[in-house]
Amino acid sequence: MTAPMIRFGLAAVLGLFFSACGSSALFQANVLKDVDNDFDFSVWRASPNAVPGRKVQLGGRIIQAEPSNGGVVIVGEQLPIVEHPAYGPSSSGRKRTGVYEFAFLYPGKIESTALTAGNRFIVVGTTQQAKVVSVEGASKTEPYLVAQCVHIWKTEGREISDFPEVGAGYYPLEENTYCATGK
C-alpha cells in the first residue's frame, strides 16, 4: 500500500471519529425540557384554546411569514417528524386529509431566505390562545404558540432527504437554529 493511500485511509478514519463526536441535536437539552411528548396536534387544532401554556415541539412547512412587532409570525402546515430517510418534517408519507395550519410568533430576527415558503421547520414553543391571522389575504383563526426556538431547513418546498443531491449536482442543505434572546 502506497503512502498516499495510507494517508487517505487515516483521513477517512479521522473523519469517522469526528463525525461520531460531532453528531448534533437541533436544540439544547434545556430547550426541550418540559416538552409535552404526548401532545396531540389534531386535538389542539380542533380546540385551539383548550390547552394554553403547554410546551410543545412541532414540525412543519412554512406557508407564509410576516414581520410582526418584535419578531416574525409564521403560518405553517404541520408535518410529521420522521427519522428516515432523513430526520425532520416530511410530507412524503400517505396522503392526509383535513387542515393542519397553525401559526407561531418567533420573537426575534430571522433572515429572509430562511422564511421562504416551503422551507421545513421544527419549532419548540408554548401554546397560546388562538389568533386571527391573514393567510394569503384571508383572515383565519389559527392555533397559536410563541416560539422559544425554531430550526429551519432551507428546502424551498423539497424534502430534506432530497439534499444534497438535488438539481443535477451537489448542493448542501443550509439549516439554522434560532432561539429567542434569553430563552
Partner: protein, 535 residues
C-alpha cells in the same frame, strides 16, 4: 313562453321585495333613532296571526316558516333566515303556484350545482394523481447559458476571435417513485457546440459505420434505497451516468457554478492534435489536451451520511467518460471513494481516492495512458455564517497516468501509432498535480445588492518531474443575480477576465508569447455569460 312567464314572475317578485324592504328599512331607520320605542306590529306585513317575524301568519296551505326548507338554495335574498319567495308568499305577493315554480327552479339549480361540484371533485381527484403533481415526474431548466468570449489567440482563417455560443442548454427530468426508488434522473444537453452532422450508423457492436455520440445525452441514473430504516447511513445505491463525486467542482451543476470556465483540473491544453514544435512532439506527457478529472461516467456506488457529520460515496466506474457507449463501455474499471467531513451544514473538508487501470485504446478522455491510474484529492469549502455572503473554496489533486497518453480519437492500443500525435511511443507515465482556490462575496443589501465579485487562482502541472510546463490562471469576475434562490432558481449575468500563463511543454518547448499567435492557454480571455435556471 314559459321562460317569459318565469321572468315576469321574478320581476314582479323582486319589485315587491324592493318596495317592502324599502318600507321596512325606512321604518327601521326611523325607529333606530329611538331604541326604546316599541316596534309596531305593522312592521311585519301579515294577513292573519301574531306579529312575530319568525312566526308570521300565512295564507292557508302555505308552508310555515319552520316548515320551509333551508334557505341555502334560495340565494336570491335570504333575509333573517327566510327565503325571499317564502316572504313573498307570506305577504301574498305571489301565489302558491308561483312559489312552487320558483322552488322547482331552485331545486333544479341546486341539483345542477351539486352535479358540477361532483364533477369538479372527480376531476380534482384525477388531476391530483397526475405524475407531474405527485413528484413522480418533474421537469426543469437546469441551465440555459448564452456565452460571448474574446481571446487574442490564433484562430483559423475565416474565423473570428469574438465567439458567440450557447454554452449550455440543459433540460432536466427527475422524479421519485417511492421511498425505495427515491429518484430517477435524466439530463439532456442541447447546446450549439460539438454538434455532429453525421448520422450514427455504428457502435461498439457494429464492425463498420460511423460511431457517433450525440451530445444531448449527458446524465441518467436510478437511485435505489434498499432499506428505509438504514437511511441516511446507507441512503441509496446509485447506478447510471452522472457527475462523479470527485471533489467539489466536478459535482457542481453547470447552472450553479461561480465562474464561467471549468477549472484546469477538468480539462486543460489544446484539444485535437497534440502540440508539436517544428514537427517534434515532446515525449514527456505534458502536451495536448488533458482531462485530469473527468466529470461524468458510468458507475455504481453507495452513498450515505453518518452521524450527520460525515458523508461518503464509494463505488466502481467504467472510467471512459459518458460517451463510452460510442466506443465500448467495457473499459478497465476503477474504484473511487470520497469521505466528506462536515464542519457545519455548509462547510467541509473532504478526501477523494480514485484508483484502477486505464487503457488508451478507444479512450474518450484526453491524456489517459495505458497502465496504472490513480487520483488523490482534498477539497474544502468555507461558507461563512459570521459574514453571510462570503464563501471560500479550494481543491488540491495529484495523480498518475500510464504510458503513452493519448487524445480522444487517436488510434492507440498501448503503443503510440502516430508519434507526432500521441506524444511519442514510449512516453513515460506521468505524475500530474493541480490546485485552485477562490473566494467570493455576495452583497445582500445596499447599492451593490445582488452583485458578487469573485477571485480565483489555479495551477496545473502536467508532469511534476519536468520544469517549464506549468499552466497558471487568475480569474477576476463579477456576477449580478437577477434571481438567486439556489438550487432551484438562478438567473444571472457573469463577466470573467482570465489572466492566463503557460510556461510551455518542458525545456525547449516554449509557446510563442506573441499576441494572436500560438497557445490559447498563454493568452488572456474575456468571457460574458447570461444564464437562466429554473426548476
Amino acid at each position: 313562453m314559459m321562460r317569459l312567464r318565469i321572468t315576469t314572475g321574478y320581476a314582479g317578485a323582486v319589485t315587491a321585495v324592493i318596495v317592502s324592504l324599502f318600507t321596512n328599512f325606512s321604518l327601521a331607520g326611523e325607529l333606530s333613532k329611538d331604541p326604546g320605542r316599541p316596534l309596531p306590529s305593522t312592521v311585519v306585513v301579515q294577513a292573519v296571526g301574531p306579529p312575530a317575524p319568525v312566526r308570521v301568519a300565512q295564507a292557508a296551505g302555505a308552508p310555515s316558516s319552520r316548515a320551509l326548507p333551508p334557505s341555502a338554495g334560495s340565494s336570491d335574498a335570504a333575509q333573517g333566515g327566510i327565503a325571499v319567495e317564502d316572504l313573498l308568499l307570506q305577504k301574498g305577493t305571489i301565489t302558491m303556484d308561483d312559489w312552487i315554480r320558483i322552488k322547482g327552479e331552485e331545486e333544479y339549480k341546486q341539483a345542477d350545482r351539486e352535479k358540477r361540484s361532483d364533477l369538479l371533485e372527480e376531476w380534482k381527484s384525477k388531476v391530483e394523481k397526475l405524475p407531474i403533481l405527485t413528484d413522480k415526474v418533474n421537469f426543469g431548466l437546469n441551465a440555459l447559458q448564452y456565452l460571448y468570449t474574446h481571446q487574442n489567440a490564433h484562430v483559423a482563417e475565416g474565423k473570428s476571435q469574438d465567439n458567440i455560443s450557447i454554452r449550455r442548454s440543459e433540460f432536466l427530468f427527475w422524479g421519485k417513485i417511492s421511498e425505495n426508488l427515491p429518484r430517477w434522473h435524466a439530463l439532456y444537453e442541447f447546446q450549439s457546440i460539438n454538434l455532429s452532422n453525421s448520422t450514427p450508423t455504428g457502435n461498439s457492436s457494429t464492425a463498420a459505420g460511423t460511431a457517433t455520440a450525440a451530445t444531448f445525452f449527458r446524465e441518467t441514473y436510478i437511485d435505489y434505497r434498499p432499506v428505509l430504516a438504514w437511511a441516511p447511513n446507507l441512503n441509496y445505491i446509485r447506478m447510471g451516468i452522472f457527475r462523479m463525486p470527485f471533489g467539489i467542482f466536478t459535482e457542481t451543476s453547470g447552472g450553479l457554478r461561480d465562474i464561467i470556465s471549468s477549472p484546469y483540473l477538468t480539462s486543460v491544453g489544446s484539444g485535437g492534435a497534440r502540440d508539436t514544435w517544428n514537427g517534434v512532439a515532446p515525449k514527456n506527457g505534458t502536451n495536448g489536451a488533458i482531462d485530469f478529472i473527468h466529470e461524468r461516467d458510468f458507475f455504481i456506488d453507495a452513498r450515505g451520511r453518518i452521524g450527520n457529520r460525515l458523508e461518503y460515496a464509494v463505488g466502481l466506474m467504467n472510467n471512459n467518460n459518458y460517451q463510452a457507449n460510442a466506443t465500448g463501455a467495457n473499459a478497465p474499471k476503477s474504484f473511487y471513494s470520497r469521505t466528506r467531513f462536515l464542519a457545519t451544514d455548509v462547510s467541509w473538508v473532504s478526501f477523494t481516492v480514485i484508483a484502477g487501470e486505464t487503457n488508451n485504446a478507444n479512450s474518450n478522455i484526453n491524456g489517459r495512458g495505458k497502465g496504472n491510474f490513480d487520483r488523490y484529492g482534498i477539497d474544502f469549502r468555507y461558507t461563512s455564517k459570521l459574514l453571510p455572503g462570503l464563501m471560500l473554496q479550494g481543491e488540491y489533486w495529484q495523480g498518475h497516468d500510464g504510458a503513452n497518453q493519448t487524445t480522444v480519437g487517436t488510434p492507440a492500443n498501448g503503443a503510440c501509432a502516430t508519434q507526432s500525435v500521441c506524444g511519442g511511443d514510449g512516453a513515460p507515465g506521468v505524475q500530474r498535480r493541480t490546485w485552485y482556490v477562490y473566494g467570493k462575496y455576495l452583497f445582500t443589501d445596499g447599492l451593490l445588492e445582488n452583485f458578487e465579485p469573485i477571485l480565483m487562482y489555479e495551477q496545473f502541472d502536467p508532469n511534476t518531474t519536468v520544469g517549464n510546463d506549468l499552466y497558471q490562471r487568475t480569474i477576476v469576475g463579477l456576477t449580478y443575480y437577477f434571481e438567486n434562490m439556489p438550487p432551484k432558481i438562478q438567473s444571472k449575468v457573469q463577466i470573467n477576465y482570465e489572466f492566463r500563463h503557460h510556461s510551455g511543454n518542458g525545456p525547449g518547448f516554449v509557446p510563442d508569447p506573441t499576441k494572436g499567435v500560438g497557445d490559447p492557454f498563454a493568452q488572456n480571455m474575456l468571457l460574458v455569460q447570461w444564464q437562466i435556471r429554473y426548476m
